[in-house]
């Protein structure tokens, strides 16, 4: 315990009775739906879980720029080019908001970047799928961003303050992402037969991967219960997946496109959507890094980082020289 207030070194690790008291205070804050803020005491496991989740989320935004960035140069109209460019740029912004939030937990962005480019960190496996046609821009917006928004809205109330605040900002900005994807598909679906086919094939490609974004079924999701107790996570994987499918069904009708699951129907008695079994073997393959584009995604990021090194060093060296000049003049 320090004798003065104000700036101080990080609190020494609490021990014994101290720790029990701190844990009780932490539990009470969580119980009361209060937010935990950066300099509050928190259990190590809570901090680690958050660092893992927020940095993975940030990495996903940054890697997620690539499948769509791939089409910026070829967007079929100038309006679509502007929208896509703004969207991919937003994803860089969202990555930055999230890295900021993670950094308040004591990990540097440099370290997180290293973890990513050395393949030591995970990111959402969905971004390892390739984007062979323009219709994929529509399907990613409608299905992938749709699933992401479903996951993210509850995170706005995550117990860790900086994470929740970053998510509020992200959710606000993402509201346009899903709509623009839907509109791309609508244009294609109502366009030439070839465009319509392109749209249907993209939906066929992205439907199942988007459902996998909610994670494994509840009875196979080891970390979920703890995250829900800590109020980092507020709905179970299956709850969110059900909710998402329920939103897609009427939207697919408006689009004039089919969701690729012959067994999909509302079960009145169970009050839930019946659907085919998800092929989790594919999910685990992709997650383990054997996805079609995994190596390519990481290489792209590593190239950007390595080829930018001399620029970052130049700016830092210039700042140092300017500071020295200012000191000499003072």
């Amino acid at each position: 315990m320090t004798l003065t207030h104000g700036s101080s070194a990080t609190s020494a690790p609490a021990t014994g009775a101290d720790e029990a008291e701190l844990q009780a205070r932490f539990d009470a804050l969580i119980e009361a739906d209060q937010r935990i803020e950066p300099r509050d005491w928190m259990p190590d496991a809570y901090r680690k879980t958050l660092i893992r989740q927020i940095s993975q989320h940030a990495h996903s935004e940054i890697i997620g720029m690539q499948p769509e960035g791939n089409w910026i140069s070829r967007a079929p109209s100038l309006k679509r080019k502007a929208i896509l460019m703004a969207k991919v740029q937003d994803e860089a912004g969202h990555g930055l908001y999230l890295y900021s939030a993670a950094q308040t937990l004591g990990i540097s962005r440099d370290e997180m970047t290293e973890q990513l480019i050395e393949s030591r960190a995970r990111y959402s496996s969905i971004f390892n799928y390739p984007t062979p046609t323009w219709a994929d821009m529509g399907a990613i917006g409608w299905l992938v961003d749709g699933a992401a928004i479903c996951n993210q809205v509850p995170l706005c109330r995550a117990s860790y303050g900086p994470y929740g605040r970053a998510m509020v900002r992200i959710c606000k900005e993402e509201s346009f992402h899903q709509r623009q994807g839907f509109e791309i598909l609508l244009e294609l679906s109502q366009g030439t037969p070839e465009q319509h086919r392109m749209a249907q094939e993209a939906v066929d490609r992205w439907y199942w991967p988007s459902l996998m974004m909610f994670g494994p079924p509840d009875d196979e999701s080891p970390n979920s219960a703890q995250s829900m107790a800590w109020k980092i996570k507020r709905f179970s994987n299956d709850e969110l997946r059900q909710r998402f499918v329920g939103m897609l069904v009427p939207q697919a009708e408006v689009l004039g496109l089919t969701l690729p699951d012959p067994n999909l129907r509302w079960n009145e008695d169970a009050e839930q959507w019946d659907m085919s079994e998800i092929d989790w073997t594919e999910f685990h393959e992709v997650l383990a890094g054997r996805g079609p584009a995994n190596a390519q995604r990481i290489q792209h990021r590593r190239d950007a980082h390595e080829q930018g090194a001399w620029v970052r060093e130049a700016a830092a060296a210039y700042a140092e020289k300017q500071a020295a000049r200012d000191r000499a003049a003072a």
Binding site: T2, S8, S11, A101, I107, R109, R312
Partner: protein, 101 residues
């Protein structure tokens, strides 16, 4: 560390960003970013935090320049105001019915 998030040894230091949403409002903390120096930090803040007309003015400050209160001293630091109800107008109930008070 003087403020959460500052980690020594990063290539570009961390800056905290404050944005005034419109005239008449205070600058509010919106997040952080990395920049090589103050000039670039301001520009990066403009590019990152005001893409949708969110602000009319931006402040940036090196995270290390911020001094914070100690959360472990929360009780001692913020206890004093409790009980000093006479600082609030509400405390003075005898004048409640008197016009223009």
């Amino acid at each position: 560390m003087s403020t959460p998030g500052d980690v020594a040894g990063e290539a570009w230091p961390l800056y905290e960003v404050f944005v005034r949403a419109s005239r008449g409002l205070s600058h509010v903390h919106v997040g952080s970013l990395h920049a090589p120096d103050d000039d670039m930090a301001l520009r990066n803040a403009r590019d990152l935090y005001t893409r949708r007309n969110e602000g009319v003015s931006v402040w940036v400050v090196r995270s290390t320049a911020i001094t914070t209160s100690d959360p472990d001293q929360k009780g001692a630091f913020f206890e004093s105001p409790a009980g000093k109800n006479y600082r609030h107008a509400k405390y003075y109930d005898k004048s409640a019915e008197v016009p223009h008070l």
